[in-house]
Amino acid sequence: MPLLDISDLCVRIPTPEGEVHAVRAVSLRIERGEIHGVIGESGCGKTMTGMATLGLAPKGARIEAARFHFDGADLREQAKALRGKRIGMIAQDPAAALNPVLSIARQMDDVIRAHRTLPREARRREAADLLAATGLPDPGRVLKSYPHQLSGGMQQRVVIAQALATGADFLIADEPTTALDVSVGAQVLALLRKLVAERGLTVLMITHDMDVIAEACDRATVLYAGRSVETGPVEAVLQKPGHPYTRALLAALPDAAPHGARLAAIEGSIPPPRTRIAGCAFAPRCPKAMPVCAAEPPPERARDRHTWLCHLPEDAA
């Protein structure tokens, strides 16, 4: 049984201008101990999928799903109880995720205290140990610091240490390297891999960067316009992509190009989240689109443990 088991998740957010269909039909099956990448252009619903899993969808959001389970518990009822105990988050921008007016010691201590009853000295040691486990060289000095006194990479390690302090075994990392320098980002990815191996964690890695998928993930799911359109082991998805969107993503990846802003290289843009979509959402941009594509939802295609949604027959992929 997968640790996180989501099937056809749909999140609608009421706004003054009408309902926003932030997530239309996302399915995710994440096995214990894996790093599962979720990739797609900005606005395709990655963050909202993660927030719904944490029970932090905006007020009034309607969440529907065929299955929405974490370790057997229904997230529609249990998300709040699981959040901060078994499910943790690592945010995109560590500078914003840390409270600017509290020392790191205070912020670490608050997390440890929320989860365990320990004397002050033991909590302090625990905080230092956790910071050391994230590869921070001088935990004592970091504890005395305020967030603005640390570099982005150090801040992100503190955020990871906080997530570890909750004892959570499932972490949702939302673009954990986007705000960091490339080399620092690579270090953070290596750290996450190490923690997954050492502590038996499971990670949902949200990213818009194929490099992150290639570097850090075991399996990946591609989102397009609020739907999961392809999922499978990373080698299969990268080397033999089934969905034309995934192929476009990879084709837009000139090997020598600098990091960032690569996905913009695909012609056109994702449909706005208020439009109704009858068939394949990618049809207006798809080089292989056929008349049926815009009219009917695409069927599931499969090759080994690798699946995607497309009207093109499997051998044409």
Binding site: G84, G88, N99, V111, H115, H148
Partner: protein, 340 residues
């Protein structure tokens, strides 16, 4: 280190403000009037009196020298003589200033103690009944005329319930029956110095109603400011992050959002304090409180310039010191303040 430099910078700035105000007071008291010596000498002065005043004020010296004389006198606490009562102003201030400061500190503390938690609560329950009730209450607290609130409080707590004294700083039994040795003129401090817990408690009960009256306006403002700051901060990502870390809601509200929202609330202290120093004339009259407000308002009616100048100076210094403390408190709450 940054903090020390920040405190030093603020202190120097405060000193400049005090010098500036001293200069203004000097201008108003000695330069603007056509014949300051006549004013200084009091009503219907004789020629000798005016001449004596001219010499005392050093009026024939050049302006900078006169200012130096004036500033030196102010600095040494020599505020001169009230021309109306002919008493030493410094002696008067020794009685009035402590009474006012006691009230100002007490009411400011009360305003924060009431306003901040209510603002946090309103923000946490935004749009629901605690918020609506709080908003209504804060508008009422700000809009209610002070004298009216004072009279209502007296009616309810002194007359009907009889649990708090009507007015004054001490009950007659203590003030006359077993008087406190006067050391600082802060009744609370004098009671403690004398080891008189009965007098201390008695003084506190006398403080409650006037302090509550004075606290109403700043408490309402503190509540509004805390509420809006909290609403903004509760949306920030570090609060969302705290939620994903399993912190309890009270811990998030008071431990992770309130410190960031304290800035605006702290500025209310300055407002409340300044208001309590001289703006509280009606409250002082209604509660028979021997404070600066009454002292200076009588001086204004009598055109008693030396008293007006002295009170202006003292109030300015109190206010500047208070603001300096607030600035330091801000820097302690938010370490980034010292960097800017």
């Amino acid at each position: 280190m940054e903090l020390l430099r920040y405190i030093l910078r603020r202190t120097v700035l405060s000193a400049f403000v005090v010098v500036g105000v001293t200069f203004l007071v000097f201008i108003v008291a000695q330069v603007v009037p056509s014949d300051p010596a006549a004013l200084y000498a009091g009503p219907r002065p004789t020629a000798e009196q005016i001449e004596k005043a001219r010499q005392e004020l050093n009026l024939d010296a050049p302006l900078p020298a006169r200012f130096a004389t004036f500033a030196a006198a102010m600095a040494s606490g020599d505020f001169g003589v009230s021309y109306k009562s002919r008493r030493l102003i410094a002696e008067d201030l020794k009685a009035y200033l402590p009474a006012t400061l006691e009230l100002a500190v007490f009411s400011t503390g009360l305003a924060l103690l009431i306003g901040i938690p209510l603002g946090v609560l309103a923000a946490a329950r935004q749009g629901r009944w605690p918020d609506r009730l709080g908003s209504f209450g804060s508008i009422a607290a700000v809009a209610m005329p002070t004298f009216f609130l004072a009279m209502i409080l007296q009616l309810v707590f002194a007359q009907w319930l009889g649990i708090l004294p009507l007015s004054g700083r001490l009950s007659r039994e203590i003030a006359i029956g077993a008087p406190l040795p006067v050391v600082t003129n802060f009744t609370l401090v004098d009671a403690l110095l004398a080891g008189r817990l009965d007098a201390f408690g008695n003084a506190v009960t006398h403080l409650v109603l006037p302090a509550l009256t004075l606290a109403s306006y700043p408490a309402g403002v503190a509540m509004r400011l805390t509420r809006s700051a909290m609403i903004e901060i509760l949306e920030r990502r570090h609060v969302v992050a705290a939620r994903t870390l399993g912190l309890s809601e009270p811990r998030i509200l008071f431990g992770h959002a309130l410190p960031n929202a304290m800035g605006p609330a702290l500025t209310v202290i300055g407002l409340s304090f300044a208001y309590a120093l001289t703006g509280a004339v009606l409250v002082e009259i209604i509660f028979a409180w021997p404070g600066l407000g009454r002292y200076v308002s009588e001086a204004i009616l009598a055109k008693d310039f030396p008293v007006i100048a002295a009170v202006t100076m003292v109030v300015t210094i109190c206010y500047v010191v208070m603001n300096l403390l607030i600035d330091i408190a801000q820097a302690l709450v938010d370490p980034r303040v010292a960097l800017s």
